[in-house]
């Protein structure tokens, strides 16, 4: 079934290339084809995820590979919702790039299915890890939207036009969703840590970096609330915050050993 994973990665990659070709050639039909390829990739990805869950008899989000796979799966979910509800065709290109990036990262991780270690066999497992995957994907898509804002702004679109205000607002709303989910991750993690490790907070590197990410986005909401910075500035902030949660997701596990180093 690994083939299904690589098929989905291939389809995502093909969708991205087709989308870029469509943008260069300015052919709407080519872009539609790209979206169809992307949806096919999503279908294969979803099928692989479901199969893995059935095979492992749990939510397949335990290892770095599984988490990256789940994180990448959440991106098309958010994209499909946005594209269909808000008619945002342009979001496909950035979203496809993000999906290929995360799915590509997953491809380099160890893929075997392992039994869940006793410390992870908890009621909180699904909610804690699931919320983290959704949170990161919301932050990533928010950054894609912010990227679009920056691109449009540089092309001369005035920042106070309705289109730009909507873009900035969408970036904000996605960031808010990611922030709410990240807070949920931290809260659930704390309650779980108390049951497993006897303390709500242990200053474990993963906890510390989740807190850093949380603070970075808290500062964003503060700055936005003060209304002293324009949309262009705020969108750059959302883009520049991406490395923070990506480091929390992958960097901490790879570079800093701690209680969350599960593989």
């Amino acid at each position: 079934m690994k083939t299904l994973f690589f098929i989905s990665l291939g389809l995502y990659g093909a969708a991205l290339l087709t989308q870029l070709a469509g943008a260069l050639l300015k052919k709407e039909n080519v872009k539609k084809g790209a979206w169809a390829l992307y949806l096919l990739g999503f279908g294969a990805h979803l099928a692989y995820f479901v199969w893995r869950g059935v095979a492992a008899q749990r939510l397949p989000l335990a290892s770095q590979f599984e988490f990256a796979c789940g994180f990448a799966l959440c991106i098309p979910v958010v994209l499909v919702l946005l594209r269909n509800r808000m008619d945002l065709n342009w979001i496909a290109a950035a979203g496809m790039g993000a999906t290929v990036l995360i799915q590509g990262y997953a491809a380099f991780q160890r893929m075997e299915i392992t039994a869940l270690m006793p410390a992870l066999r908890s009621f909180w497992f699904n909610y804690h890890i699931g919320a983290a995957a959704l949170s990161y994907s919301a932050f990533l898509v928010a950054a894609c939207v912010a990227g679009r804002y920056v691109y449009q702004f540089r092309r001369g679109e005035p920042g106070d036009s309705l289109k730009m205000l909507q873009l900035e607002d969408l970036s904000f709303r996605l960031t808010a969703l990611g922030y709410l989910l990240l807070t949920t991750v931290i809260v659930i993690g704390a309650v779980w840590a108390e049951a497993a490790w006897s303390a709500y907070w242990t200053w474990d590197p993963k906890e510390v970096w989740a807190l850093i990410t949380w603070i970075i986005y808290t500062v964003y909401f503060h700055i936005r609330a003060r209304k002293q910075k324009d949309g262009y500035w705020l969108c750059w902030y959302v883009i520049l915050a991406v490395p923070a949660f990506l480091f929390t997701f992958a960097g901490v596990n790879k570079l800093i050993p701690g209680l969350h180093s599960y593989g």
């Binding site: 410390a119 036009s161 922030y179 807070t183 907070w201 603070i215 808290t218 503060h222």
Partner: protein, 404 residues
């Protein structure tokens, strides 16, 4: 003074404090935290003096980190008071204030009805004040920021309380025995088991807690993720140890005795007949090398001074020599962590504050107040961040006008 205090507790200052906390957290990742000092002297010999002097080996208990957190709490407190006043004022006066606002956009004849339809589709309430109509919804959202700030403050305060106040003790106790805490609470370990599930060991103890007043808990299993709470005591399955032991039983009168086998010994009544304990060893399952290793007792039986060949005995096995039975005990025992909380349900306060935090966030992000004032000639958008809604309404009304 007021100006200085205003700046000290401004949002800008709060951002600076948050940035400093994040910076210190990031720097703390550079070296492992909370180890013994010799670890740093050995691994970071060049930077050791700096690490020691700046308390960099445990940033989170350093004076500067505690000071930063203290300032952040003060800032949160001041901010919460301000947010409370603002929320109270807004929720009481926003409709009245909106009604008094001048028109920012013009309405053509008949467009007020379109606006009304839009408001109805968004489930806005309508109030008439004088000649003005005020459409509003989500006014509970004004309380979001207050709830958010006060709950963060409570989470920090209760969190410090939850980390610092409980008395934490690590105890070892053999199955069948019990240990007493300082206050007289007794923890009895009924049994201990190690389950090997696909190469992952899972330790579980069945325990009973007896409070100083004699109240007994039911016997319950504790294992990772499933601690046991009774009264102010919470017991966690923490670790395990290996301690060989043997129980001897006389065949003549049934006398039972326990011996800890911490070193080789000759277990005999008369010095001629008995069991020579040589040691323990671990052996792995030949069929499943990943499986947990089993402990064996290495013994030599001696009868009337004559030694027999060495033999291996598994825990639980009984060896009979002369008038005595030697029952070799399961050498594993649990290590329990006992957390004595200052009062029952102390953790619930923190958990309630965390729920409040999520509620505050939900109110902030998903129940943003909408207040639109209109009359026959024009309308204006009040409430927080009105720009986008103003433009959306303008576009909607233009679109409907064009479709006519």
């Amino acid at each position: 003074m007021k100006k200085v205090l205003g700046r000290l507790f401004s949002m800008k200052a709060a951002n600076l404090l948050l940035a400093l906390v994040a910076l210190l957290c990031g720097l703390s990742s550079l070296i492992p935290q909370g180890r013994e000092l010799p670890f740093y002297a050995e691994n970071y010999p060049r930077a050791y003096t700096l690490i020691y002097r700046t308390h960099f080996y445990d940033v989170f208990s350093s004076w500067y980190f505690v000071l930063l957190m203290g300032l952040l709490c003060l800032s949160l407190l001041v901010c919460s008071v301000r947010m409370f006043q603002r929320a109270l004022k807004s929720s009481r006066e926003d409709v009245q204030k909106a009604a008094a606002l001048p028109n920012a956009e013009r309405l053509e004849p008949g467009q007020l009805e379109q606006l009304r339809r839009w408001a109805a589709s968004r489930r806005c309430r309508e109030e008439q004040i004088g000649e003005s109509f005020v459409f509003h919804k989500n006014r509970v959202g004004y309380w979001g920021l207050f709830l958010l700030h006060i709950s963060v403050l409570l989470v920090v305060l209760f969190g410090v309380f939850a980390l610092a106040m409980p008395k934490v003790t690590d105890l070892d106790c053999r199955p069948g025995e019990s240990v007493s805490l300082e206050d007289g609470t007794e923890i009895a370990v009924k049994s201990f088991s190690m389950n090997n599930d696909s190469g992952q060991l899972d330790y579980a103890s069945r325990i009973q807690i007896i409070l100083p007043d004699g109240q007994r808990s039911p016997v319950q299993e504790v294992k990772v993720n499933y601690p046991m709470t009774f009264g102010k005591v919470k017991v966690f399955q923490w670790t395990y140890g290996v301690s060989p032991a043997v129980m001897t039983r006389s065949k003549l009168d049934g006398t039972v005795q326990f011996f800890d086998l911490d070193r080789p010994a000759f277990l005999s009544e008369d010095g001629l007949t008995g069991v020579q304990y040589l040691g323990t060893f671990e052996a792995e399952d030949q069929d499943d090398p990943a499986a947990e290793k089993t402990v064996f007792y290495q013994v030599r039986l001696v009868s009337n001074g004559v030694s027999m060949p060495d033999m291996s005995v598994t825990p639980g096995e009984t060896v009979t020599v002369g008038d005595w039975e030697f029952i070799f005990q399961d050498p594993y025992y649990p290590g329990l962590r006992v957390k004595e909380m200052p009062f029952p349900y102390a953790n619930s306060l923190l958990e309630a504050a965390m729920m409040l935090l999520l509620l505050g966030m939900f109110l902030c992000f998903y129940l943003r107040p909408v207040v639109v004032r209109a009359d026959e000639t024009g309308y204006t958008v009040a409430g927080p961040r009105p720009d986008k809604l103003r433009l959306e309404l303008r576009k909607l009304l233009q679109k409907e006008e064009e479709s006519k």
